[in-house]
Symmetry: C2
Subunit: 234 residues, 2 copies
DNA sequence: CCAAAAGTGTTCGAATTACACCCATGA
DNA sequence: TCATGGGTGTAATTCGAACACTTTTGG
């Protein structure tokens, strides 16, 4: 058994994660990037990454890397793409599987993040990233924009309770363009997946805006029928 | 330089390809599968696959595997997903990057295919495939259905000249459901990416049906403007 | 009382759906 | 002449896009 496939070459396999967060005050989509602590490209900005260990599934590796950096588990995380150009990493031939994740900025473990030299950067002014990491971010952004339109994943970036204005701002930050307020509210409310709470957010306005929460149970029930989430926002 | 990353474990990396073809007479979408000639699972049905060699990019590896099996190059081929469960292959820990390809059945090199024990199977009655290959096919089918709706890739499965009836039949075979003939013709013709030839296909009917060809140049020109291919067929 | 943000409906045009008959021709 | 498959148009409905004023309340 151990001789099977023995004539074939093995490769280093890494995972790299595009970790999105949303700053609710600045109304900006952010990316978690780290300063590399080792060569090659030591001191340069890169995505959160790590190597896949023996006997470790790639999904688990990606979760491990995310957890080490942020202290978080059970996070919305999907595989994005496998990058396998032979010279993509100047240090060695490394095949990298990219993942993208959506997290709530406030929930991360500040200490772990700081120790790993992780920083949030606005996607509007990203620094240059090493290797093909900028390509990865672009692909992840496309995927996010596609995904957020057809699946209720935007909520992963917001607190448990949020106002419709905050949700709208999030979509505008993701698409980088203005969205009609009335049409947006009409659409999202008609889906019957939001629950209005008896509580208002009163910091940003005197009138106050109702908090809502995502009704995951109802979404699951609805999506078993012929219901489809579709937020054509602009 | 050669010592970088030296403490990390390496892995076997394979590529597996979901190769779709379309049988214009049977009006069926087909999958190219091969009988394994080596252990484990020798003699079982599997996807076309192979290992990534040193210094070979994964895209190149996938093309190589496809070329060896079918004699074809410059084929529509996209990465699908990277499968990295640690025990997915009982022979050894192998990480597999799946690709999906669209080819014209008639264009393949019969001799090469035969030597590699490759066979076309209707997607309506696929045999059991090894490992996680059935998952790969299902994912590829979803991707194909999504893709064929928003990009003009269906033509990759048809001969250079085809009738609108054949194109409709193809879409029905992909979606496995009937599509309204008039609406389909109206929609596809309104896109202005088909060119009607002065020639008819007269085998399947006495009246004959006009041949069309995909006008790739015009499609490229149009897609640079605000034009989007969208064939909401069903 | 007023500034500032939240909340609310309607109209118009475009796109999608449903649907049934005539045409051309070779046998 | 007739059986077979190719080709055509219109009406009804739905969906998305555009658009401006009223409400609430803390300072």
């Amino acid at each position: 058994m151990i001789k099977l496939y023995s004539k074939y070459k093995k490769h280093l396999v890494a995972v790299d994660s595009i970790i999105f967060g949303y700053d609710i005050l600045e109304k900006e989509l952010k990316l978690l990037v780290v300063k590399r602590s080792f060569n090659p490209a030591k001191g340069k900005w890169s995505l959160a990454g790590g190597f896949v260990e023996s006997g470790e599934s790639i999904d688990v590796a990606a979760c491990r890397v995310l957890r080490n950096l942020t202290g978080l588990k059970n996070i919305y995380m999907k595989q994005l793409y496998c990058y396998g150009e032979s010279a993509r990493d100047p240090g060695a031939r490394v095949i990298s599987v990219a993942y993208w994740a959506l997290i709530k900025i406030k929930s991360i473990d500040q200490k772990a993040a700081h120790e790993n030299r992780a920083h949030w950067q606005s996607i509007k002014k990203l620094p240059k990233l090493i290797f093909d990491h900028t390509d990865m971010v672009e692909r992840a952004l496309e995927e996010l924009r596609l995904r957020v339109r057809i699946k209720p994943v935007g909520f992963e970036l917001l607190p448990e309770k949020f106002t419709l204005v905050q949700l709208l701002d999030l979509y505008e930050a993701i698409y980088q363009k203005p969205i009609d307020k009335r049409n947006f509210r009409k659409k999202i409310l008609s889906l019957n997946i939001l629950e209005r709470l008896d509580e208002k957010e009163k910091v940003t306005s005197k009138k106050g805006a109702f908090y809502y929460s995502f009704n995951k149970a109802n979404y699951k029930k609805l999506s078993k029928r012929d219901f489809y989430f579709n937020l054509d926002a602009g």
